[in-house]
């Protein structure tokens, strides 16, 4: 069964450094998403991406964040200058169509630790 994959599984970085989290969505999916889950808290939406542009973003997704689909398979989240509060599990997700009824399929996550 096709699945969303994410690399790395765990990333440790120092405050102020740039990080890039990578995702490979399911191949025939058109919508891509990033969510994050701070330890012990709920899963929060960051951004959605369709047709090579951001379709929606949350207040969390400020100028420090960016997303890109650099080729036909990868979808990346970049944090330009990490802060301690960026420490969280970051989940990538994808869905097949733009219709709201489609479920989103989540990857296993990247645990980001900012020291």
């Amino acid at each position: 069964e096709p699945e969303v994959t994410q690399t790395p599984s765990h990333q440790v970085t120092q405050m102020g450094q740039e990080v890039i989290l990578r995702c490979v969505p399911i191949s025939n999916h058109l919508y891509f998403y990033w969510y994050r889950q701070i330890l012990g808290q709920k899963v929060e939406f960051l951004v959605s991406f369709y047709n090579n542009e951001i379709s929606e973003k949350s207040e969390i997704f400020d100028d420090q964040f960016s997303v890109e689909r650099p080729d036909g398979s990868n979808f990346t989240l970049k944090i330009r200058s990490t802060k301690l509060e960026d420490s969280a599990m970051y989940f990538c997700a994808s869905s097949e169509w733009e219709q709201g009824a489609d479920e989103q399929y989540f990857g296993p996550g990247t645990r980001l630790t900012v020291t």
């Binding site: 709920k42 959605s48 009824a101 989540f106 990857g107 296993p108």
Partner: protein
């Protein structure tokens, strides 16, 4: 703005007994509702969804959920719990009226099934 409440942090049930994990929601218009399960160190796995039609929806691993519009609830149920059902369960909602794709999650309910 849409929101989801999962009033129980944890639900304990004995193997073989029925289980219910509660979820209530708030949206402007009609909701799309989803249940996801998260096992340790894994991503979120889709269980089932309500879009329209029959209020009782069936999903993976014998789970089902009942949509109740008047009570704005979408409780997850299973007739006979298994120890392997022990995990973290998240209810999520998408507001059709908003036109957006993002899922809004509840805080999660930990299900513990004892042998």
């Amino acid at each position: 703005a849409q929101s989801v409440a999962q009033p129980e942090d944890q639900v304990n049930v004995a193997e073989g007994n029925p289980l219910t994990v509660k979820c209530t929601y708030s949206v402007s218009g009609n909701p799309y509702l989803f249940w996801y399960v998260q096992y340790p160190n894994r991503g979120l796995q889709f269980l089932l969804k309500y879009i329209t039609g029959d209020n009782l929806v069936k999903g993976s691993y014998g789970f089902e959920a009942e949509f109740n519009k008047s009570q704005t609830s979408f409780h997850l149920k299973k007739p006979s719990a298994l120890v392997s059902d022990s995990a973290l369960y998240f209810c999520a909602v998408r507001d059709i009226l908003s036109g957006f794709q993002k899922l809004v999650f509840g805080t999660g309910t930990r299900l513990l099934v004892s042998p």
